[in-house]
C-alpha cells in the first residue's frame, strides 16, 4: 500500500535550515506571511506534498500545474505554504509527515506562523504576537527575545499538531500567533508576525510592501478564506476560545 502522504523532493534540500510553516488558518495569517517571505527571498520550489487525503486539485501558475501544498527554499530557509485549506481529516497525517520530513532534514528550528482570533480586531491598530514553544530551550529563547508567551489555553489546527509532534521528539519548534480576524484575511496581522519572526531569527524581512498590498490581498484571499473557515469549523477551531481547566 502506498504512503498516505508523500513529500516529493525536486531539488537538494538544505540541512540546518529554519523551517517556516504557513498553512491556511485563522485570518490566513500564516499563509499571507509565509507567501510574503517566499516572495521577498525569491525562494525556489524544492518539494511538494502529494496525498490521496487532499482534494484532486492543482494550482496553475503561468500555465503550469503545481501541487497546492509546496515547499520552497534557499540555502538556510525553508518555507511551507498551502494554497488551499488542509481538510480537517488530513491535518493529522499531513502535519505528521511534515514533521518527519523536517526531522530527517535536520532543520535548525520549525516556526509556525498563525493567527489568534480576537473579537475586537477592528479596534486594534498594532496586533500583538504571542509565542508558544515545543520544549524548554525554545521557550527560554522566546522569553529572552521578549516574546509574549501563550501560557495557558488551547491550540487547534495545523500549528497545534506541529507543536505536539515536535514536542514528542524534542525538536525545537515555536508558534507565532498574531492577534487577527477569525475569518477575514488579515495582512496587518501577518506583518506583525513577520516582525516578531525578524526579532527571533535575525532574518531581515521588509513588510512595507505587504502592508501596501493589504487591500489587494484581502480581495484576492476571499475564496480561500471562506473554504478555510469551513475546515476550521470541522476541526472545532472555536475551542481556542475555551477556558482551560487545571486541577
Amino acid at each position: 500500500m502506498s504512503e498516505p502522504v508523500r513529500i516529493v523532493e525536486k531539488k537538494p534540500i538544505p540541512s540546518d535550515a529554519i523551517v517556516v510553516q504557513g498553512l491556511p488558518d485563522v485570518g490566513l495569517v500564516g499563509l499571507i506571511a509565509t507567501a510574503h517571505i517566499v516572495s521577498q527571498f525569491n525562494l525556489q520550489e524544492i518539494a511538494y506534498v502529494d496525498s490521496n487525503l487532499l482534494p484532486p486539485i492543482v494550482v496553475l501558475h503561468n500555465g503550469l500545474p503545481h501541487s497546492p501544498l509546496r515547499i520552497f527554499s534557499n540555502k538556510n530557509l525553508i518555507a511551507v505554504i498551502s494554497e488551499m485549506p488542509i481538510p480537517a481529516d488530513a491535518v493529522q497525517p499531513i502535519t505528521q509527515a511534515l514533521v518527519n520530513w523536517v526531522e530527517s532534514k535536520k532543520a535548525k528550528m520549525t516556526i509556525s506562523i498563525g493567527g489568534m482570533p480576537v473579537p475586537d480586531r477592528q479596534d486594534i491598530k498594532d496586533p500583538k504576537v504571542f509565542g508558544a514553544a515545543s520544549n524548554a530551550s525554545a521557550l527560554k529563547m522566546l522569553q529572552e527575545k521578549g516574546v509574549d508567551i501563550l501560557r495557558e489555553g488551547y491550540m487547534v489546527g495545523p500549528q497545534a499538531l506541529v507543536m505536539r509532534y515536535c514536542a514528542e521528539r524534542n525538536l525545537p519548534a515555536i508558534a507565532l500567533l498574531a492577534q487577527s480576524f477569525y475569518n477575514y484575511p488579515d495582512p496587518e496581522a501577518a506583518a506583525a508576525a513577520i516582525k516578531e519572526l525578524t526579532n527571533i531569527t535575525g532574518l531581515k524581512i521588509d513588510v512595507s510592501q505587504l502592508l501596501e498590498k493589504g487591500e489587494e490581498i484581502r480581495l484576492k484571499a476571499r475564496d480561500i478564506m471562506k473554504r478555510t473557515q469551513n475546515e476550521m469549523t470541522r476541526m472545532k477551531k472555536s475551542r481556542e476560545y475555551d477556558l482551560p481547566l487545571y486541577v
Binding site: P119, R121, Q122, D123, F181, Y182, N183, Y184, P185, E188, G214, E215, E216, R218, L219, K220, R222, D223, M225, K226, N230, T233, R234, K236
Partner: protein, 148 residues
Amino acid sequence: MSRRRRRSIFDLMSEYMEDFRTWAEEMIESMIAERPSWDVRACCLEPLCNVFVTIDEVVVTADLPNTNPESVRVKAVGEDLIQIKAEMKRKLRFDDFGITHRKGEFSYFRCQVRIPVPVDTEKMKIDFKRGVLEAHLPRKRSYDVKVR
C-alpha cells in the same frame, strides 16, 4: 496511575450537539450547489460576512476592502434579512486576479445576510473600521402571542 477525567452528561450532550450541527451543515452544504463569489452580470463580488448573536444584539460584519465608508449602504429587505452594498474605489477585472480566461469587471460588493433571531432593524447602527463593516441590530425583547 493516571486517572481519566469523567465527562459529565452535559459535556456529552454538548459534544453530541456540536457533532450534529457539523453534520447538518455538511448535509446542507452538499445539497446546495456551490456558486462563485462573483457575479459578472451584476458586476459585484460577494464579501466575506459574519453573524454573531449576543444576549442584546445581533452583530453582522462584512469585510469590504477597496471601498469608501461613504459608499456603504445597509438596508433591511425583510424582517430577518439585510442587504449590504458598497461601491469599490477602483473597478476590478478578472485580469487583476491574474485570470485571463474569464471576462468581466466588478464595481460593487453586495450580499444579503439572514438574521437568525428577531431584531429591530429600524434601530440598526453601523460602524466601519479598518475596511470592516459592523452592523449592530438590537434583539426584540417582547412577542405578541395570539389568543385563540
